[in-house]
Amino acid sequence: MALMEVNKLSKAFGGLVALNNFNLQVEAAELVGLIGPNGAGKTTVFNILTGLYRPTSGSLVFDGHDLYGKHPHQITKMGMARTFQNIRLFDNLSVLDNIKIAYQAVINYGLLPVFFRVPPFYRVEEQIEEKSLKLLEIFDLKKLAQEKAKNLPYGEQRRLEITRALATNPKLLLLDEPAAGMNPNETSDLLDLIKWIKDKFNLSIILIEHDMSLVMRLCERVIVLDYGSIIAEGPPSEIQQNPKVIEAYLGDEEVASWEK
């Protein structure tokens, strides 16, 4: 059975249909690309999958759980994590605290140790700190552990956001335009990072991206959205040749000439 199975998902905001009959299957350890012009409904898909929006109709099953009506924090604990198009870090907290907070989805203690420092408090706190530092070390952020998140350079903020998502121990990682605002060098580093993460953490990844070279080099399968509907699906090489996709991105030749 697929890790993620989405059937006939639709979402309307008032009269505007943002997503129409969207189907998606993600297998374990698969990397799927989700592309489309601006406003096609890509981020809406992520927002529905993670529970921020409730779909108008359709079904979502993740790892055997029905996601309909589940809250975002419950879905995170089932093993889904995401990053955001516009970076959303805990700006005024340290890099280490950013990771610690994410780690708490995996290990935590009850209320009693909060007010009365019984032994489990120190044991679990130590565990959280140790594992968080280890994760930061893997992503080469340990030296910045005490720095406020907002003081990091842009590329490292992106990396921290991905690291933080991984700290929740996900099975499926949703990356929303991770290469946005990066120069070619940084994008190429990101490419290696995503490949490496996928193998090292044995994850499935859904990637929204506008940088076509990144999508073409990374993804095994690409889904193209336009006006809320899937217009093409297949391996990157096929997608590149698909006339519908070219039309969606570049505009229809005839339509363009009429408008003149």
Partner: protein, 321 residues
């Protein structure tokens, strides 16, 4: 051994503070005017620190603190005055009643954000005041009179230390970090597996319970409480202490509460100018230091260790981590 040094240091400092004031009070060195103000400082620290937990740490803008304090004060007063039960029970019941009020107000209103939450909690405070005025059992508009005056310096001191310790322990825990996370970015916090409604309500309930504690202490010091005292201006006073000290800084709240209380005590002798100077101080602090005296910083154990390390000539920051 060395690691525990700052804790020992703080304990010694606290005990010294306690002893100095205790000796001053019993020898008559501290006048009864300043005795009142010292108690008031204690009560204000509790109020400011607990409001800071809601407004500064969790980032929910509440203006209902006077209401929670009133609930605690009247519940406590009923226990000792109307029912003749012991003071300790009054504290417990006062805190529980305020916590319950916090829960009842928090559950529906914490879905609101920013200004809307502020208005809703402001409304709650006014409702409490008007309801108290119309319940004859708690004296109506005249309020409760003749509440036993059991509050003394040790009780105030222990209550303040208890409050600070409780809030500090909360902030320095995974649950406190969750509250900070939802202040910083609630969408991202949800994605990190944090149940934001749960933590908003939790911070609100703890803050309300502590405001209730302050209310019980207030009632059992002044012995007379009237509903009209717990109006919006009281909430505003507490808010000013929090803002002057620094939103999100526990030590800031202590500093703010002490400064504002002492300032208004000095200004009592020139009543014509009191509110003018008070307002000028506020404007000055808003213009020159909008983030508050301490910003979001804390005078913490780690900082003390660092200072200690500098004094000892060794690198204290290493121990701090």
């Amino acid at each position: 051994m060395k690691k525990n040094l700052p804790i020992v240091f703080v304990c010694v400092l606290l005990f010294a503070l306690f002893a100095v004031v205790q000796v001053g009070l019993s020898s008559g060195f501290i006048s009864s005017y300043w005795e009142t103000n010292i108690y008031l400082i204690g009560i204000n620290i509790i109020l400011a620190a607990s409001l800071n937990l809601i407004n500064g740490i969790t980032g929910e803008f509440s203006l209902g603190h006077a209401g929670f304090m009133a609930v605690g004060a009247f519940a406590g007063g009923v226990i000792t005055l109307n029912l003749g039960l012991p003071f300790l029970l009054a504290i417990v019941v006062g805190m529980l009643a305020a916590a319950l009020a916090g829960l009842l107000v928090g559950l529906p209103t914490l879905r609101l954000r920013g200004d809307y939450l502020a208005i809703a909690t402001l409304g709650f405070g006014e409702i409490v005041r008007v309801v108290m005025m119309n319940i004859d059992y708690v004296g109506g508009a005249a309020g409760l009179m003749g509440i036993p005056a059991v509050v003394n310096w040790p009780i105030i001191f222990i209550s303040v230390v208890f409050t600070i310790l409780l809030i500090r322990n909360f902030i320095c825990s995974s649950h406190g970090r969750s509250c900070l996370a939802l202040r910083e970015n609630d969408t991202a916090a949800q994605m990190m597996g944090i149940n934001i409604t749960y933590y908003k309500v939790m911070a609100f309930v703890i803050g309300a319970a502590l405001a209730g504690l302050a209310g019980v202490l207030y009632a059992h010091y002044y012995t007379i409480i009237q509903p009209k005292e717990f109006n919006f201006l009281l909430t505003f006073d507490i808010l000013v202490m929090v803002m002057v000290g620094g939103l999100g800084s526990l030590t800031g709240s202590v500093v703010g509460a002490v400064l504002i209380t002492v300032a208004s005590a000095f200004l009592q002798s020139i009543p014509e100018l009191r509110m003018v100077i008070y307002a000028a101080l506020l404007i000055a602090s808003a213009v020159f230091r909008p983030q508050g005296l301490l910003g979001a910083k804390e005078v913490s154990m780690n900082l003390l260790r660092k200072w200690g390390g500098v004094l000892n000539g060794s690198d204290g920051s290493k121990q701090a981590q």
